[in-house]
Symmetry: C2
Amino acid sequence: MEVSLRQHHRLLEFRGACPLSVYDHLEFKHFKSIVAIAEEGTITAAATRIPLAQSALSRQINELEDALHIQIFERDRAGISLTPAGESLLRFARELLQTRIDVVKAVQAIHQSTMRPFRLGFTPFIEHQVISTVCDAYRDLFPKGNIHPENGDTEDVIRRLRAAELDAALVTLPVLPDGYCIQPVMHEPLVVCVRKDDPLAQQDKLPAESLNGRLAIFSDPRHHPRAHQRLLEMLEAQGINPKISNPTFNSEHVQWMVRERLCIALIRQSEALHEDLTTRPIEGVNWTIDSAIAYRKEHDQEALPLLLRDLEKRFSVAEPSSPKKPPQRVREKQEQQRLSFGGQNNTSS
Amino acid sequence: MEVSLRQHHRLLEFRGACPLSVYDHLEFKHFKSIVAIAEEGTITAAATRIPLAQSALSRQINELEDALHIQIFERDRAGISLTPAGESLLRFARELLQTRIDVVKAVQAIHQSTMRPFRLGFTPFIEHQVISTVCDAYRDLFPKGNIHPENGDTEDVIRRLRAAELDAALVTLPVLPDGYCIQPVMHEPLVVCVRKDDPLAQQDKLPAESLNGRLAIFSDPRHHPRAHQRLLEMLEAQGINPKISNPTFNSEHVQWMVRERLCIALIRQSEALHEDLTTRPIEGVNWTIDSAIAYRKEHDQEALPLLLRDLEKRFSVAEPSSPKKPPQRVREKQEQQRLSFGGQNNTSS
DNA sequence: GAGTCCAATACTTTATTGCGATGGCTGGCG
DNA sequence: CGCCAGCCATCGCAATAAAGTATTGGACTC
């Protein structure tokens, strides 16, 4: 019986499974050693920090270099320094060590209480597609986790974020980066919406002065005071005196106002337009609506670091002005998904 | 002497350094065990695959769960299954194990021959900003590495990629995904460039039929035969009969032709325009120029997997139609870099 | 109720790692 | 010039951790 077991081991070593390989000689403890030596400058100093005996650390690194056939350090008098290979390895060592911490924290959180729900605030100005991308990312990372999106005005969302009633919030800039961090996710140009038969539509870019007295703004000071104020400042800097309309986030409403020749308005470039309307950029300026995810630096949501890391990938494949299609990964060989010059999808409604 | 050393150890355990922590109980070998158990369904089967004794594996997992205070597996009759926490952990385990392999391969390559240069092909249609982003990513990952960008026509670049004379290539789609893989990096809408005083400029979206007989194309069959053919097909599908001009990639040249009323032309939406010109989308279609990085599946460039991984992050922060600014990471609290509604940068030349 | 399959446990054996000591090397300093 | 100090590599030995062997006990099947 015991003989047959041992034979199995032998046999399996030659199967395609995943038996011993060179890579197995590299463990997280080696990463820690490498980081410590690189930071301390000597094996001796690093050893006291690990903590470990100097001899043990020296041996550990030598055996690693031997197993991997990589010379990580250059030993010369009075110390030890990184080789080019070691410098790259150091970079990855730091990254992976941090990832390990994030993973453990997140998985611990899932275990305790099957993970408390992730409370994601968002403001009315955030596009739905952005919210769903964030939710998808979360569910992909934590299949059994719960994510609770809740909307609210910017100040309200920020206040709740700061009060730890939210774990993260999707907001549009500008916001005061006070007590929390932000990571941008999308930038979208702002353009002027006019009737197609408006004289302004003749021009390709609208001079700022041509908007004076006609441009209405619909942003609500209560929904996002800083953005509202910033918008007024920017308009003033361009010599534009806007009409302050009743606030609304309803794009249909805004477009109706423009169609009725009551005003012209600023809208997102990607907004679906009524057929009587068109958009024009403003000459000499480059205003955008910037969406970002905000979170407390001292957060207690263990899922957050991994989610942020994943979002960096999600908001990938820069795709100007067509906010559809979740990020597609075409890594290994497969049907080429998108033949360019391809879709006949109508972008307008 | 020996006493003082040991005292140092004691002291340092309480410093902020990086002494023993919970996370250190999780090593790569645990990841391997978790993956094996999850895939095999029983500890016994997984143990023969690792290879390891069943008892050892059982203990290893139990001790890990104990140290991390995470229940990874659910033991019931007839086997073992993942808890929700375990499912998430499994995901990260696979990812990190692959990363470890990629890291070791890349660093080994740096060591041997101080890493052979990374030969990156690109075609004339690739925006310079894309190339520089890729080069930046490479240099960031491998400070001592060399990257050699070389340009060429699409077929030439693809041929050299297939012949292993290039390690990767930035190309515009479509290309036959034959023997190599592609990973998209950017999509850019194609629009029609017309004079501002052209009657067509009155319209907001140009009906396909209005282009018939006027649209000239400048794509070179030699530079990219498939894209050329695809473009012709797409035009034909819309009933557009194009004028075939002498091929050129010089945007100034194309714009000059349009300014001289010789034709109208398809250009990238983000192209800098002469002041007499403007652009209009074509109604009912959504043509884009798709940039992608192509590489052999059986590549021998060890830097490639890590570069691809990093590029997923680099081409981040979807930023419609303003191809500037390398990706900025605003992770930890710092000056909020971009106040929205912010720049007064002129996008046109 | 015997057979089977599986995880967990007890105990033994092996491997790893740690420690202290030593030697070689280099650079600084008297 | 030579001595000392600092550093890394190596060695022998001891402690610890991990793996292996054998066994137990539970649960399901027939």
